[in-house]
């Protein structure tokens, strides 16, 4: 089906689509920061902004842990507990991933 990998073709349509994706994404990255700069440094909004990273982070991983089933929940718990006691990102990741890999190998 494929002859040799197509390395260097740049079609105008592709480049324009990719640029559109890039502008939209970068605009939201920078736009979010510049909007936050306009919020007050103290009071309710500052308090909300300080809670924001934790809320985003939790919303990223909690649904994916749960949708991975019981082994996903156990893996996330192992990761969090290891992090609390060892305070090492790599160790915490390895603990969770080993548990999930072992669980899938032996149970799944």
């Amino acid at each position: 089906m494929m002859s040799f990998p197509d390395l260097t073709t740049f079609s105008t349509a592709s480049v324009l689509t990719i640029l559109g994706m890039a502008i939209v994404t970068y605009g939201m990255r920078l736009g979010g920061l510049l909007m936050a700069d306009r919020l007050p440094q103290q009071g309710r909004w500052a308090h909300v902004l300080e809670r924001l990273p934790g809320a985003v982070l939790i919303s990223v991983w909690v649904p994916s842990a749960l949708s991975a089933g019981a082994i996903g929940i156990a893996g996330a718990a192992a990761t969090v507990i290891t992090m609390i006691f060892v305070r090492n990102l790599f160790a915490a990741m390895v603990a969770g991933m080993l548990l999930v890999a072992a669980g899938r190998y032996f149970l799944g």
Partner: protein, 262 residues
């Protein structure tokens, strides 16, 4: 290393960039493999390797790229792809907003240069650093992840298959694990409890009722609303932040002001 306090006074210090890159090292295997999987997908959808790498370095957002490459056809559905990218990447508005302390007191050009290479992973790693006000650290992680991501793309594209299934080695779980672990470092005390619970519940409800990555926005939105509702006047004293964060690194007086970036 002899004077660790002096380095971050520069906007993008080489040593700080290196530390940021090293801090993202645990993400190398999973980022490489998923980059390769995207490379394989791109060969099936008719993107050239050059176009894929161009996308990886200009868009630099994993989940949006997977959806976009999957939608790619001979006649490119450009509008669909760009709208899908916007929806999936809406969370970057929140991620950008939460980076305010990292860029505190920095001029606008630093923000413009520093905000491109921001992925979920190097953002999360940066946000759990003790000395937050460090755009170089964020950029270092971004450059590292960008190189690994593009290398993975190239390997996957050239092999065109035969990439190990990430699920077997639980590499798909690596992203869940890194975000779960980094959440621990973001705990600032009991004020976080209710907003975090709201975020967890909101994201789960979103996950089962809304399509795609809307669950992130649902959870973050719930967390924000609860944080706003639970705020009291006396809470400000619990987190004394310096007016000019750069001062903590011993910046010469007058080098930075909070007005510099406005």
């Amino acid at each position: 290393m002899s004077r660790p306090q002096s380095a971050p006074t520069r906007h993008f210090d080489a040593d700080t960039i290196r530390r940021g890159a090293i801090a993202c090292l645990p993400l190398l295997p999973s980022t490489m493999i998923f980059g390769a999987v995207l490379g394989v997908l791109a060969t099936q959808r008719g993107l050239s390797l050059g176009e894929l790498l161009f996308m990886s370095l200009t868009v630099f957002a994993g989940s949006a790229q997977f959806v976009s490459v999957d939608l790619w056809r001979e006649t490119i559905p450009a509008a669909t792809i760009i709208v899908a990218t916007a929806v999936i990447n809406l969370r970057y508005v929140l991620i950008g907003a939460s980076l305010r302390p990292v860029f505190r007191g920095r001029p606008l050009w630093v923000k413009i240069c520093g905000m491109h290479m921001v992925a979920d992973e190097n953002w999360a790693v940066t946000m759990t650093q003790e000395n937050l006000a460090n755009p170089g650290f964020l950029l270092g992680g971004g450059i590292f992840l960008g190189i690994v991501w593009a290398t993975g793309n190239t390997i996957g594209y050239l092999l065109g298959g035969g990439i190990p299934d990430p699920n077997v080695y639980a590499l798909d779980f690596a992203f869940t694990a890194v975000f779960a672990a980094l959440t621990v470092g973001m705990w600032k005390g009991r004020v976080d409890l209710l907003p975090w619970l709201a975020a967890a519940i909101g994201s789960l409800i979103g996950h089962y009722t809304l399509p795609g990555t809307w669950s992130i926005l649902a959870g973050a939105g719930a967390g924000v609303v609860v944080a706003a509702l639970t705020w009291r006047e006396d809470m400000d004293d619990t987190a004394p932040e310096p007016e000019i964060a750069a001062d903590t690194f011993g910046a010469p007086e007058g080098t930075y002001s909070t007005e510099a970036g406005k």
